[in-house]
């Protein structure tokens, strides 16, 4: 071009232009604080909701991991099995790759526990001998989210000739993980819908912005502004909406967590648990802001690509 500045200085000036446009877009938002906050608030609420659900789910997952340590298989041996044979079996089981630990409750211990906990202790006085079997308590090495492997282990253990019954209530584990899976899917669906809502909110705000700056767009086109040049401030506006909305969503999450922390701690104390509510974490916070910015950018892109074409000088 005849009137173009030198190429080397062009790149720097292009970068500088981007910085100035992005700051100008931010400044424009700052001059209309109420409108900006309102739009950002809608975005932040739409984002905070799935984030809250995600945190709840992550915490439930964590609680259930704690429960895994108490997953155990009880092997009720035949009553005729001698203590010595039971110990041999115990040592053999401890070498099994899927078993972490085996504990033995012998006949005497069993009787003592039964007397203490059942309330039928007196009834035992009328029996000639101890009717309780030796019980081996097996702690598997398998995580509870693999209920099928646990079921198989229980089956294998049940085939042992000393074992009368091998028992594990895996049903609740299965149910819990099925429930968590449903919850995960629901959050995915809800998040997708809310993401579309964010796109629409940003898109509509940018559309109004474009209408308000009609004159400026027309003049810019008349003096030779490229489409990219005209698009840029609106894209930056959408980006900033995303940034502000993301940060507000993060703040809403933090405040909610603080409000929830004490009652949940109290509940945990009642269950003799040292459970602590875990928050979003640094990586997920960055992810939240990133998603928020992307939604802002895409929303404004949709509005800009639809509405800028309509404005032509006449």
């Amino acid at each position: 071009m005849r009137n173009s500045p030198l190429k080397s200085s062009r790149f720097l000036s292009y970068l500088g232009h981007h910085v100035r446009v992005s700051l100008a877009s931010l400044g424009r938002l700052y001059t209309q604080p109420i409108a900006t906050i309102m739009t950002a608030a809608v975005i932040s609420i739409a984002l905070a909701l799935p984030v809250g659900l995600y945190i709840a789910l992550a915490n439930i997952g964590q609680v259930s991991t704690d429960w895994d340590t108490s997953t155990q298989i009880s092997l009720f041996l035949h009553t005729h099995v001698k203590q010595r044979d039971a110990q041999k079996l115990m040592r053999r089981l401890e070498k099994h790759k899927d078993i972490k630990k085996v504990m033995m409750i012998d006949k005497e211990d069993g009787l003592k526990q039964f007397k203490e906990t059942s309330g039928f202790g007196d009834a035992l006085k009328y029996l000639d001998e101890n009717p309780l079997p030796i019980v081996l308590v097996v702690h598997p090495r398998i995580h509870a989210d693999q209920p099928n492997r646990i079921t198989k282990l229980v089956k294998d253990l049940g085939k042992n000739k000393y074992v009368e019954i091998a028992q594990l209530d895996v049903q609740w584990v299965k149910r819990l993980y099925t429930f968590l899976e449903i919850a995960k899917r629901s959050i995915l669906v809800i998040s997708s819908m809310l993401a579309i809502a964010v796109l629409l909110v940003v898109g509509n705000t940018i559309r109004l912005d474009i209408q308000n700056r009609r004159e400026e767009i027309e003049v810019s086109k008349l003096i030779g502004a490229s489409d990219a040049f005209i698009r840029r401030p609106f894209l930056y506006t959408g980006f900033w909406y995303g940034v502000i909305g993301g940060i507000m969503a993060w703040m809403i999450t933090i405040i909610s967590l603080i409000l929830m922390e004490e009652p949940i701690h109290n509940l945990a104390v009642l269950y003799h648990s040292d459970f602590r509510l875990s928050g979003l974490g640094f990586k997920n916070t960055l992810l939240l802001i990133f998603i928020s910015c992307s939604l802002g950018l895409i929303g404004s892109w949709l509005a800009v690509s639809r509405h800028l074409k309509d404005i032509e000088p006449s």
């Binding site: 071009m1 500045p5 500088g16 232009h17 400026e216 810019s220 008349l222």
Partner: protein, 230 residues
């Protein structure tokens, strides 16, 4: 500089704004475009600025056939043109300096260069002292001069003006026209649409008259009556 080859423009609805216009404006020339309202003056300027496209015929701008320019390339054509409007088309949300700087910002000039050129342009139209002022506080003539400064700040090859003195009194109009003459003297091609025949005669510049979308006179304004299309 500008070459119209058998140009016709029909607007949707069937109105023929221009019919088979052929004319030439050489590089460095200055000319007026006259005719009663509705004669096609604005349409002719719009075709040059690619705001409208011709229905038939070819327009060459500095040797480039505008029919071969896609919509995406239009901005780069317009960067060689400075356009001045009757109603200024200034942006009232920013001071004079920012208004004038717009073409330079669009073309990616550096800061120091922008400052230098905007000052020079404002100096040429005599408004250097008003650079920080908002256009709304300026008089009509001053606003028009800001518009002119914006049109010339990037040193375009061609200056188009659509009724630039339409709202101004004779004294101010004369000043504005002399300003255009001065740009023409340093090599800019100038085409001004105006119905101010007295002033045109006074300036003695060539004149193209349009009547019902056709050229009715092309040359020096020796006959004011014919130029008016009467």
């Amino acid at each position: 500089m500008i070459h119209f080859d058998n140009i016709s423009k029909r607007y949707p609805g069937g109105h023929d704004a221009l019919s088979q216009i052929s004319l030439r404006l050489e590089k460095g020339q200055m000319a007026f475009l006259t005719g009663h309202s509705g004669a096609g003056k604005s349409t002719l300027l719009k075709l040059i600025a690619m705001i409208e496209r011709p229905t038939r015929g070819q327009i060459f701008l500095d040797g480039v056939n505008l029919n071969n320019i896609g919509n995406r390339k239009i901005p780069y054509i317009r960067r060689n043109i400075g356009i001045i409007f009757q109603n200024h088309h200034l942006l009232y949300d920013r001071p004079v300096f920012d208004n004038v700087a717009m073409p330079l910002i669009i073309q990616g000039y550096r800061r120091q260069e922008i400052h230098k050129r905007v000052r020079a342009a404002l100096n040429q139209v005599g408004l250097l002292s008003k650079e920080k002022v908002y256009p709304i506080t300026l008089s009509g003539g001053e606003q028009q001069r800001v518009g002119i400064a914006r049109a010339i700040v990037h040193k375009p090859l061609l200056l188009l003006a659509d009724e630039p003195t339409g709202n101004l009194d004779p004294e101010l109009s004369r000043e504005i026209m002399q300003l255009f003459s001065r740009f023409n003297q340093v090599g800019t091609t100038v085409l001004i649409a105006s119905h101010n025949i007295e002033l045109i005669k006074e300036m003695g510049t060539p004149m193209i008259s349009l009547q019902d979308g056709r050229v009715s006179h092309n040359g020096l304004p020796f006959n004011a009556n014919r130029a008016r299309g009467l």
